[in-house]
């Protein structure tokens, strides 16, 4: 129990990841799926950031010429997070684009209905 | 004489058939002449090769490490190749008349000829890899022959056949790889190539059973025999030559090869693996014969009889003694000749008189004297009546079984006798119907002809039987009797093969 509280950030991240994953997997509605996707990614960023952050240190931006590495937090996770955000933004954009196309075509966001309609379309 | 001459009879029919299939000559005459010349030339080459036996091997190419394609001509190859080379020209001659009314003949004969080459390939293979390769090819090249009619039934039968035999090959493949791993070489060596394999014994035995069952699919061993009776929808030349000789014998030959030349008898003899396989063979002998007695469609009846007889071969082979091996070869030769003859007779009746079922054969002997005469000879030989060739092979198998002197061998002996009796039942019913049909109560006024008026009317629908059909039948009948009477040199040769002297 205690270690759960000790690194509560990781726990929260995992919970969030689970929520996001579940939504992305189970939601019928495409938009909600995308939201789930974003929750999932955010969870990962939280996780990474929590790992990189060391309490009482500064962000690794050298202002006063002090190059003592022990003053700063580990910069790599922040870099990863930034990269990850870029990726997830692009992916989200793509998903949204797809959703729009589908909506224009089938006038619904429900993935099952869309499947049904598409099959009918195919059979004609 | 270099071993590379083996390629000549191998490639001649393949190339010839391919050319025939591509060119598609319009005049039937040309086609006939090509087919006959190619076939005869090939058989000639085989004869020459059997006469001057090239001793060394012919290396062709290397697929991967240890997987090489090689040909050679040892005793067993001689036996199988000899059988094929003897039967094929006769079969082609028969086929040419039989098929004369069908369409797509060029394609048919193209594949018919190619199959000859592929079958010889199985005979000449010097190692498992090569044999497996040609075994698969045999499956593929015979597909078009089987679905020649392109009727729905033919296609269904073909699918069944393909699934069965590719599946079988898939299991045989396991055995092949096992040899590649544990054997010191993939080449065929009498006595086997498993030397350091004592470690994983149980595994190897399991694999052996798998492999035999796999090859056994083509040899129509019990649980996997289903394709053979279905396949009898194919035209008779195919049924006769492929489903009574080439394909099924290839299966039996492959089993003999892996048993005596790859796994080796001293590894297998006395293991549960041997008894399992033997048990299947024994069961199949009786099972096939029983089904044959029940079957009323003549060709299918013969197909079931083939199933039973192939298991004679397997029984002899799984005795795993030299005597058993030579007996297996003896029955392979004998059954090849007999069964093809029987099929030809029935096929002739089918195509010329349009009679397909047993009960339709009443009094046919009077009508087609030659055909049913030959049928009777071949039939008696199949039952194993001396002095015909069928008796010789039965004698060999029986003696091998007795000499083996194990309970399973005695069981096999009993099965042999039982199967022979059933064979008498299913063969002689047709013979008796043909020559001495049941009659309505004898009335003294119809004088000394065994024909009721009903049969009189149906005379005109008969087509004449041409010389191309008669000649093969006569030749076969002669072969059966002469082979039975002068069997000693053949048997001595086979014994030498089994001992590894030849």
């Amino acid at each position: 129990m205690s270690e759960l509280f000790a690194n509560y950030l990781a726990v929260v991240a995992m919970v969030l990841f689970g929520i996001g994953f579940g939504n992305l997997l189970l939601q019928k509605n495409l938009i909600k799926k995308i939201i789930g996707l974003n929750i999932m990614d955010t969870a990962v960023y939280l996780f990474l950031a929590s790992m990189g952050y060391i309490s009482g240190r500064l962000a690794p931006i050298i202002t006063d010429g002090d190059t003592d590495a022990r003053k700063y937090v580990n910069p790599i996770p922040s870099g990863l997070v930034l990269t990850g955000i870029v990726v997830s933004v692009s992916v989200t954009a793509l998903m949204l684009a797809l959703t729009i196309r589908l909506y224009r075509r089938y006038r619904t966001l429900d993935i099952d209905e869309i499947t049904l309609l598409a099959r009918q379309e195919h059979n004609e | 004489m270099s071993a590379y001459w083996l390629l000549v009879p191998l490639l001649l029919p393949i190339v010839g058939g391919a050319v025939l299939g591509i060119v598609k000559p319009h005049s039937r005459k040309v086609m006939e002449i090509t087919v006959m010349t190619v076939t005869l030339l090939t058989s000639l080459c085989v004869a020459v090769l059997l006469w001057v036996r090239p001793s060394e091997e012919a290396f062709i190419l290397q697929l991967a490490e240890r997987l090489t394609v090689k040909f050679f001509l040892d005793g067993s190859s001689c036996v199988f190749a000899g059988l094929i080379a003897l039967l094929w020209p006769i079969a082609s001659m028969y086929a040419i008349e039989y098929m004369s009314s069908e369409e797509h003949q060029n394609t048919f004969f193209a594949y018919y000829t190619i199959t000859y080459g592929v079958t010889l390939g199985i005979a000449f293979s010097a190692n498992l890899m090569t044999m497996y390769m040609f075994y698969e090819m045999l499956t593929l090249v015979t597909i078009p022959l089987m679905m020649h009619g392109l009727k729905y039934k033919a296609v269904v039968a073909t699918r069944k056949y393909v699934r069965y035999s590719i599946g079988g090959a898939a299991f045989a493949f396991i055995g092949f790889i096992a040899i590649a791993i544990y054997g010191e070489t993939l080449d065929f060596r009498l006595g086997g190539v498993l030397t350091g394999a004592s470690g994983n014994r149980t595994m190897l035995e399991i694999v052996y059973v798998m492999a035999v069952m796999g090859f056994g699919v083509k040899a129509a061993i019990f649980p996997f025999h289903g394709w053979l009776p279905t396949a009898s929808v194919a035209p008779t030349p195919v049924t006769a030559l492929l489903h009574a000789v080439a394909i099924v014998k290839a299966g039996a030959f492959a089993i003999i090869r892996i048993t005596y030349y790859s796994f080796g008898v001293d590894f297998l003899h006395g293991t549960w693996a041997q008894y399992t396989v033997m048990g299947f063979a024994i069961f199949t002998m009786v099972y096939g014969a029983t089904k044959a007695v029940k079957e009323q469609h003549c060709k299918r009846r013969l197909a079931y009889s083939t199933i039973s007889n192939l298991s004679y071969i397997l029984l002899a082979a799984t005795l795993m003694t030299p005597a058993g091996m030579s007996a297996a070869f003896a029955h392979m030769l004998a059954h090849g000749v007999m069964k093809i003859t029987l099929f030809y007779c029935i096929g002739a009746v089918n195509v010329k008189a349009h009679k397909y079922y047993v009960w339709e054969m009443d009094g046919m002997g009077k009508r087609m004297k030659l055909i049913f005469g030959v049928y009777s000879v071949a039939g008696l030989s199949l039952i194993g009546i001396p002095p015909m060739i069928g008796f010789v092979s039965k004698w060999d198998i029986g003696n091998a079984a007795v000499a083996e002197a194990s309970p399973f061998a005695y069981a096999g002996l009993v099965a042999l006798i039982l199967a022979a009796l059933l064979a008498a039942a299913y063969i002689l019913e047709i013979v008796v119907r043909a020559w001495m049909p049941r009659e309505a109560e004898k009335t003294t006024d119809t004088v000394s002809t065994g024909e009721t008026s009903a049969q009189e009317t149906s005379v005109q629908e008969f087509l004449p039987v041409g010389w191309r059909m008669r000649l093969p039948l006569v030749l076969m009948a002669i072969a059966i009797v002469v082979g039975g009477i002068f069997s000693v040199p053949i048997l001595r040769f086979l014994a030498d093969v089994a001992m590894g002297i030849r």
């Binding site: - | 003696n399 002996l413 009796l421 001495m436 004898k442 009477i485 000693v488 048997l491």
Partner: protein, 506 residues
């Protein structure tokens, strides 16, 4: 020395005749067919006599199997059986000329009877197991067309039954041969590994397990051969086959072809395994039990049977089992009795069947009770029948008596426990039954006046010229009954001959 070459010639002559008769052009004219048949049978007869005169001779042909040649030998046993066979053949052939007149396909009958003769000659003269087996099988296939000659539904099914029984028996025999081939003593004599040798040719160093195995096999083998003889449990074909076959054919079947089974048994018992091998073993008792059972059952069934020829068939079943009993006793005297009974029963049974044939031919009657008073219509036939009946029952001075005497005596001086007393008892019982089912017939035939009105409906018009059947039929009947009497009066010749065999064997 042309002795050896006479044997194959003897065997080939009827074959040539058969082939000749197969030529369609040749078989057109029926009288030609008859003369040819008669001529060839007669020729065979002469050759057989010649061979018998020449005494011991043997000749060997090509090997049909490795070190297993086709091998002929004429010793006393083969002479015994061959002479008998050919004699009977002559009679029934002569008889058949008349009888077959109103049957269909007489020419086919002739062909197959000649073929069968070939096979029987082969069996008689064969000098090793393989040759015997070869001709034994051929005999089966040559003789079954005689059975289903008429091609009625029953005839065909009877023929097939006969075929399957014989094949089953022969295959059991083949199994036996496989084992004998394995356990035969290695030797180099003409005739190969399986050539007959008086007293047997088995390996002497058999272990007990091998011995017991071999005993089982021989037992099965003898059961198998019993199927030709009509030994219970493989006797089923006889009563089916005889009624439907034409009378001469039935005569040959039960008179001679059954005897070939007996010959094979003799060859196995005395010339292959030797009489000492089975003596005292369970197999001997089992076989004796079976044969005695058959004797009893056969006569019982015959007694209860109403159809005339079927009755005779059952009687064959029981009589041939007399012979088997004699053989299975494995004692010289009993064996002499058995072989004597072979001859006598063959003569008598031919006689009886031919009589039955004559009656059927004349009046078309097949049931026993229809024969009341027939004696008045065809006296000669029925007199011959009566002679046959008396002989079969074993009334002195007729032939049957001698053989039965020998059988009983032979049984008594063996040490086969209770059986040695059982055998004579059974013999007597079955003799009584025989009297019951044969002599009653002749009694009825002569002394019971038959009711009017029955005659007309079954009578055949065509042959009915004169009360009695024609001479061609009568001559064989008379000859046979004469023989039955003569051998009864002067058995010495035969017994001496047979003792000659027994001296060699025991």
């Amino acid at each position: 020395m042309l002795g050896p070459w006479l044997i194959p010639v003897t065997i080939l002559v009827p074959l040539v005749g058969a082939l000749l008769l197969m030529i369609p052009a040749y078989r057109k004219n029926i009288s030609v067919v008859r003369t040819t048949t008669g001529a060839f049978v007669a020729a065979t007869g002469l050759l057989v006599v010649a061979v018998a005169m020449l005494g011991e001779a043997e000749c060997e042909f090509l090997e049909i199997l490795p070190d297993m040649p086709v091998f002929f030998r004429s010793d006393r046993t083969s002479v015994w059986f061959s002479v008998l066979t050919v004699a009977m053949w002559m009679c029934s052939t002569v008889f058949s000329f008349e009888y077959m007149k109103y049957e269909k396909r007489e020419e086919r009958y002739c062909v197959f009877s000649l073929l069968a003769l070939t096979a029987l000659m082969g069996v008689c003269f064969s000098g090793n197991l393989i040759t015997t087996y070869l001709f034994y099988e051929i005999m089966t296939f040559a003789s079954f067309p005689l059975v289903l000659h008429e091609q009625t539904k029953e005839a065909v099914s009877a023929g097939l039954t006969y075929l399957y029984y014989s094949l089953a028996g022969a295959f059991l025999g083949l199994v036996g041969i496989f084992f004998l081939y394995r356990y035969a003593a290695p030797r180099t004599v003409s005739g190969g590994l399986l050539a007959y040798a008086a007293g047997g040719f088995l390996r002497t160093d058999l272990t007990d397990s091998e011995r017991s195995l071999l005993t089982v096999v021989i037992f099965l083998m003898l059961i198998g051969l019993g199927s030709k003889v009509g030994l219970y449990p493989l006797h089923g074909w006889l009563p089916k086959a005889h009624p439907v076959a034409p009378a001469p054919a039935s005569a040959l079947l039960s008179g001679n072809i059954t005897k070939m089974g007996i010959l094979f048994t003799v060859r196995i018992l005395f010339f292959t395994v030797g009489p000492d091998f089975l003596r005292g073993s369970w197999a001997q008792y089992a076989l004796l039990g079976l044969s005695l059972l058959t004797v009893f059952l056969g006569s019982m069934l015959a007694y209860r049977e109403k159809v005339f020829k079927k009755r005779l068939a059952y009687s064959t079943v029981s009589q041939t089992s007399y012979v088997l009993t004699g053989l299975y006793l494995l004692a010289p005297v009993a064996a002499v009795g058995a072989l004597l009974h072979v001859v006598f029963h063959s003569i008598i049974k031919n006689l009886l069947f031919l009589c039955a044939g004559a009656v059927i031919y004349k009046t078309g009657r097949t049931k026993v009770e229809q024969l009341k008073g027939i004696g008045l219509i065809m006296p000669v036939t029925m007199v011959c029948f009566t002679v046959g009946g008396l002989a079969l029952v074993g009334i002195p001075p007729f032939a049957g008596f001698i053989s039965k005497w020998y059988l009983a005596a032979g049984a008594l001086d063996t040490d086969t426990g209770v059986l040695r007393f059982l055998v004579p008892v059974i013999l007597i019982i079955s003799a009584l039954l025989t009297a019951g089912y044969l002599l009653t017939v002749s009694a009825d035939a002569f002394f019971v006046p038959r009711k009017e009105g029955e005659a007309e409906e079954e009578k055949r018009e065509e042959p009915a010229k004169g009360p009695e059947v024609s001479l061609k039929m009568l001559i064989p009947l008379v000859l046979l009954s004469a023989a039955a009497l003569a051998f009864g009066l002067f058995p010495g010749v035969l017994t001496d001959f047979l003792n000659g065999i027994m001296d060699v064997v025991f």
